[in-house]
Symmetry: C4
């Protein structure tokens, strides 16, 4: 807006449409803005590449892939990473404040998305392959293109105190549940409830109602204890979600009032 | 209403009750309207047939049925489909705008409810029998008779943005959970956590708290990871339901104010 | 109140306290009212007996009880039933409108609480023993002593339409889930997903997130289908509870305004 | 505040900063107050010790620990308990009202946190080791440092009546579910559904949607019964959490209005 006005003030008013088109094609605008056609196209391309890269990363973990598929995945991985590297360098080059971008959340995520590729090159150890899973942070780049998460952040700020209280209560309850069930079940099932740490696993799967069924109480005392812990715990685990939901409604209502 | 008034304007005011009764018996009104006795009876008959048809469809899948029951189910299926076909043709014949009805959601569902019967005739392949399961769309015709789902639609529109954010967060969290658990559990359980795709199955059953117990972490790292993922994930999965509930309350309150 | 006033109008004002005490001791007041000391004591005694009876009923089902315990439980059962019978007859005798009481909900529950005892006498068949489980309705008598459930009823009336919509949506979703999973899993697990009825059991345990783990999909298609059904279904199953909760808040707020 | 003012009134206004610093270092202030640097440091140290003690308590339950680790844990346990004992005596010594502190909730918790150590000394029985698990109450001391739980208490008071109704409804439903499933499943699974008490365990794991999968219905009747119980029960179990969440929002809004 400002620059097109400065162009017009230079007496080139009739050339404006062409100049504006050229201006909007400049690399800075394509990379940094998303309100022009070219900028939006660039963003969409990057997003498609991120999703493609995330999917191929998943395919790579499939055991027993044919050699040809494996080779294709590796080549495709190299190409994607080179594109992301070029994008990263462009972002640095066109950033208004380079230092600020590099150390911003998105700058670090952009770096984390390409670094594992270069670090693992030449190495063939299992542990380093696990490092490559960090490429998953590439997915977090999707955040850049959405202001939507801001509202969720605001809702969390409103309900912060209560959520912290309930997180504390959850931890306390998990620990007390683990100690209690250890006391009741250790004698009957010394393998499943070997220590308080093993009992904590039971507490987590039970209070979240996941209930895999790998560990469960068998004594009458342990079952009655489980009942009381569940009566108390279901509320404590379920309330925070309700709090965040009501806070989100609050944020939305406030925004509607402002408009 | 309008036509009875036009009849009255023709000077047949005293014959009106009889004429109205006759008029309301016309096929157009029976098929298209549901505010007359005959129209309502027609709708109820169709609904009963839909439920009957859905139940017999379920019975057909029972293995080892006696020949006589099987024959009865097949005959009953033919009869019901013929009735539905007649209803479909009547709906087209009496529709104010035929093209619009045929390509409307309900027109397509009505067609999908009878088509599999005609397509499968003469064929006896297993795959085509599965196609016949499409007859389940017959059930969706029940929607036609209820305006109630409209409110739910309005509530979804109000909470649309938040629900989309949470769906996105759910997908992101599912993927990150699968990558994380793959890293922790692949070495210990190469069969259950064979690839990120297999780990996704674990992520789905765990974050929804279904917890079948067919796959679960056994390493200390995997269990601690599961704990943190659950603390984060329970909220993300549970919040949208709370949002829709509060939006529904909003829609209801607004409707009450308007009345 | 009214009767004490009528006594006072008869010029026995100074004898009132004594008369009131005597009056409040009359059988009618003890059985029918719960705002006098004697009436409250009677109600509490009956409640204690109901709880006692419910607990002994549970004990009777324990296999391998010693003969002496069994005999005690049977005697105690006879005594309790006789007390309940006397109470039932007293309630009929003191009811302002006998026919109305006998055919009221509580009248029928009172009868259902004692009838199985008399019907099973002399018979020793297993099926009749199951009939005796109907004695559990005795527990429902506890409702009489609490007006609290009224509020819950009001909340249900407010949210009635939405709850019905969601119940309908739940049934529809359960059926569609069962048909879908039958299509995906029947070939791979012909025993677990034998028919749509068997698949319905899977749909119920999955959409309620109970997830016993006795049936679960094993094919890729079935698992992806489960994922989408869960994304859709968790909301549909969880929203009604949120609706009832917000309606209950509404009822409470309205009551506070009236006071 | 008051005492520094009394010092100033004694004409030592210019010595105030130094005196205040000394005063704030006095044992009474360190132990009883948490708004001075020294007091806060003392509180943080105690909290760190509590967490450390809780973690070592968990480690002690691990079977097969090397002798050296076991010895270290026992020594560390002795040191921590001695510090807690000193703290307890200091709290008594500096309390404004000693009797009140000793019999307050925190006073009793402080005592319960150290007593098991002294009682178990010299004894080496298994049962007494279980007693030592009472040391877990040490964790409850963390409550002292947080006023946050007060709000949760207020919310519970607001929703008290409804929560009690729903707890009652939960108990009633659990019992009725257990009786019903006993009737349906006892013949088919005499071991899993041995008595109503065993069936109660099934009712608890099912209605809370934990669903371990150790007991589940196998008969058609039992499964249909489970479906209806779940439709009814999910609401009853989930509504209280929603009620507490909405009450918490209410308390927060009221507090915001007051400020």
């Amino acid at each position: 807006m400002q620059s097109s006005r400065s162009l017009r003030s230079l007496g080139v008013a009739d050339a404006t449409p062409l100049l504006q088109a050229l201006y909007s094609m400049s690399i800075t605008n394509i990379v940094q803005k998303s309100d022009t056609t070219a900028g939006r196209a660039f963003d969409v391309c990057i997003m498609v590449l991120i999703v493609y890269s995330v999917i191929t990363l998943s395919f790579e973990t499939l055991p027993g892939l044919p050699e040809s598929v494996d080779a294709f995945l590796r080549t495709s991985e190299t190409v994607v990473t080179l594109i992301f590297t070029a994008e990263y360098l462009l972002r640095i080059a066109t950033a208004p404040n380079r230092r600020k971008y590099i150390f911003s959340f998105y700058g670090l995520v952009d770096l984390a998305a390409i670094l594992p590729f270069y670090i693992s090159t030449g190495l063939d150890l299992r542990a380093v392959r696990a490092f490559r899973l960090l490429r998953v942070f590439r997915l977090l780049k999707l955040q850049r293109y959405s202001k939507a998460l801001d509202r969720f952040g605001k809702a969390l700020v409103i309900a912060k105190e209560e959520v912290i209280i309930f997180l504390f209560a959850t931890f306390l309850l998990l620990y007390l549940s683990a100690v209690g069930i250890y006391y009741f079940e250790n004698a009957a099932q010394p393998e499943a409830f070997k220590s308080i740490f093993h009992s904590l696993w039971w507490a987590v799967t039970t209070l979240t109602t996941v209930g895999y069924g790998d560990v469960y109480p068998v004594t009458a005392g342990g079952r009655i204890f489980t009942f009381f812990i569940l009566m108390l715990g279901l509320g404590i685990v379920a309330v925070p979600a309700g709090l965040v939901a009501s806070s989100l409604s609050e944020v939305r209502e406030n925004e509607e009032k402002e408009i």
